[in-house]
Symmetry: D2
Subunit: 309 residues, 4 copies
């Protein structure tokens, strides 16, 4: 039945302390395309995305996540999922079309970890600059800029009740459990990595005592060479790098973690295996925490488990 139901994380809305500095970071350094300005808000897309925007930054006095939204296949899917979510006992708020720019109606609800999640089926499609008849493969010079991400890839969120949130994604939204990180002493899920596609994760959750915290938003790059190029841009512009380039044990992806000027963590990510639902899910435990997180030096970073916005 191809990919139906919940498609992908299609919108991430984050708070920044300085809108101009953030616009330089996400627009010029990461290389996202700015598609809309509103008072206090800027909207961006990665070049190979077709929908109007995937990242919203809002100026606020505290960094962090406002909400994130997954796109679903169609309006009927949205209706069906609303029923399933209500039936599961979760309160759902309806957001009329037009509330968010260029977007159809949405539903919104809170996850057990405290995050606001939305689902929507429609957003204006503005394309990737290539025509749909005889498109060719390479956009004009200047379209791919900065770190050159092709897409928003995933988010990782931090909060309590990881297992409850995970169960919700598996049972209500029909995600697969790709990988999980367990406390070796008590078997508790410290982190879960969830798939609704062939990607090794579409969203992930890690345990954090405070609800609704934001760990990172990740942008997809085509190759390890591109990861290095992204790193060169970070170095040139003195972007704060947490760790990397390195590889994750979980997902097998190549990665650099870095921070936007407001302290929100970003990632560039490339590779990782191809996920299918009949693949056995992988389990890591705290005896191999370093290898699970960063599989080249096998060294966990304190900040990785502590810094959230």
């Amino acid at each position: 039945m191809a990919i139906r139901g919940v498609l992908r994380v299609g919108e991430v809305a984050i708070r920044v302390l300085d809108l101009e500095a953030a616009a330089v970071h996400y627009g010029r350094h990461i290389g996202l395309t700015e598609v809309l300005q509103e008072p206090g808000r800027r909207y961006f897309k990665a070049w190979d995305e077709h929908d109007h925007h995937s990242l919203v930054i809002r100026e606020a006095d505290r960094a962090g996540l406002d909400y994130f939204a997954f796109k679903v296949f169609d309006d009927a899917t949205l209706t069906a999922l609303e029923h399933r979510i209500r039936d599961y006992g979760v309160a759902v708020e309806r957001i009329p079309a037009g509330t968010y720019p260029r977007s159809g109606r949405r539903i919104q609800f809170q996850l057990p970890g405290g995050h606001l999640m939305q689902l929507y089926a429609d957003k204006d499609r503005i394309g990737n600059t290539l025509p749909t008849r005889n498109p060719g493969v390479l956009p004009d010079e200047g379209v791919i800029r900065g770190m050159g991400p092709t897409r928003l890839d995933h988010v990782l969120l931090a909060g309590p009740n990881v297992s409850d949130t995970t169960r919700f994604f598996l049972q209500v939204l029909d995600f697969d459990l790709g990988e999980e990180l367990l406390d070796n002493d008590n078997g508790m899920q410290l982190g879960t990595f969830l798939c609704c596609s062939n990607k090794p994760h579409d969203i992930a959750f890690v345990m954090n005592p405070e609800p609704g915290r934001f760990h990172h938003v990740s942008f997809f790059l085509d190759s390890i060479n591109d990861v290095y190029h992204a790193g060169d841009i970070m170095g040139k512009h003195n972007i704060s790098v947490e760790v990397g380039p390195t590889r994750h044990g979980i997902t097998r992806g190549a990665t650099i973690y870095f921070y936007d000027p407001s302290g929100n963590r970003n990632e560039v990510f490339s590779g990782g295996y191809i996920h299918y639902p009949d693949r056995p899910h992988l389990t890591w435990d705290t005896t191999q925490l370093g290898h699970a997180a960063f599989s080249i030096d096998n060294t966990p970073r304190q900040s990785f488990f502590e810094v959230v916005t």
Copy 2:
């Protein structure tokens, strides 16, 4: 709803003229793992696949395709699809579990282009040599050999009635039309590229006057560096190369086409964009045939449209 329904091409059975020569080609040069020998047959898997086998070679006096099989999500899906296929007016044959080694029951039917297609939900899962608890990312030395493909990627089949076959995949099997190649004079579909995943194609069909013909089977590589390494192996062992390394306009993937010792076309493939069902499908026409096929030199190869087994 994550990836459900039809998952992927999970088995391709091809005829070869010389079993030993073919085993060297697929096993040692391409680097597939041989998992089973039967009189007149050899079974292979790519290293990062979990199911028992994905490629079957059978000695015969004529090269070509015996059948190909897609794996579906579960047995209920198989039952549901059997009904849909029958309802569409296609005769379905039931193949009991155990008929094919290490495999559950299958259904088989003929496509409008003359190819035998199967669906199945169960095959023994033997894993990728890595444990499922604290797996790490790198298998032992020797597991990744030869060209080092991670997976069987897709097949391209040649026959008449491309549009009929395409409609069957879209309407009955719920595939998406990723891209199509049209005759610019009359709008006829000369080739269609169909997706049931995030890949830019899971199967493709091109027009050919003779039914049931095999164009190629493709193996996935992780990077363009790996494509070059595969090419170096081809050169070293005098494997017959049709074209490449180059890039496809259709799918944006990096590619080399080459032949097994029996004349069956193989491909190594890497990259390509990430497909979603809400992406507009791309149309190429015969005014840009060269760019659609090989987007670096924009030069169609006669053999590419003529040589099939």
Copy 3:
């Protein structure tokens, strides 16, 4: 004694039929930096070169090579080489400083294959846009453009008397013979690949009945990924591609051959082994002509041996 004597091919002057079209090709598509315009001439450099220019294009009614020039270590080297060349029996013309823009004095002489060669020790150094104190590694966005070559790499010239020219380079200019291609029937040198550095060739000569012919000028790219990117630019702009991406047997380098709008052959080149003078020189013969030229498909191209300007 480090690298002394003859350093590298520092200037290639070629004739083009249409200066504007050539400037778009070399400037925008290949991505060289245009540094000077004169009536009928344009001067270019690759971004990571420090000298003022390395490529000169001159409008003329016939494509081909005007001359090429190697830079030598210093003026004393130039004087010493002038003596050695004269002592070898070759007539040397002195060209005063200032004859060529931004350049010191030169000496010029004709090779046995009919090509005009120059040597010079001084040219204005304008740098690579990075400072020399705390330079960083990445120039500003826009400095690396198009195919993004870092340097002019080498030239290949076609003419008679390959062995005589080779002997001159080995005995007078102290080059090493890196590789050679022999006619298997009579042992004659059909091509020689000569080194004055760690590169697998700095200049090469192939046999051609007509003297003074130009086979190609080659630009260096950092990686195979960059070779593919260069190919994507060729495809986008319908640049005429002769062959590639592929690998050379000779030098092991990754390559694409393509033509400028006037029919002069260009190459992008990456990799190749690291040459040292104590490495045994490699010999290829015509029984392995295909593998020597293009070591993936082992197929010689007729045009490669016939098309020169």
Copy 4:
């Protein structure tokens, strides 16, 4: 005059605490070819080197460097350099041919930083497994193993009197100063990076209060993909990684620093610019120490400046 004089670091002899563990590290994990065993010693070469060996490990009760040796162009060069070294006032010891296995005569002397340096012109050439007639480009499967380095690349040595040692290399051995790191307060050379080839460094020296200390030996990899693969091997075998993958500001090379089981630092290195003697040398100062050392996260590592053997 091509590359003449001092060619490259051709032999590094280091002490290890456990010969078997070191042989697994250098042989199986790094993937060097073991070519000779003697009581208490093992000899290795990288696959694409032609000389008999480039790395010697000797069991001892303290890790560190025994000596390092540069190969020079020929015996006459060796004689000439002996004179120059003596004339400079440095005592030279003559080591007869045969003292070291498979090696011709050597000269040995002590550098101002306390290191024992040797020069030699002859060592048995055993090749890279490829024939010299129609060699092809790819050795047999198994020849390139582990991290797959093509060559020993350089050494970095720690000791006092960096400027004195540097002056010796520039004035007596005719090296170029490629880059230097200065103390911004007093202009003192903290590190110098010296070239006798097109590589961005062939040897480097950093200041250390104790004489004769060993900072690292570096092995060359062909690509950034290979650097990541090397990192995957480190992670799989729990090899102690100091830093990386990352890039150096100095040299622009991609790097991982890691330790052998005895605590000697190793590096895998790829890329870097192409050096020529007419390139301006680059200066970094301590205001940009982080960027000079690791140009992605701009963060100096304490261990990098402190841990030596």
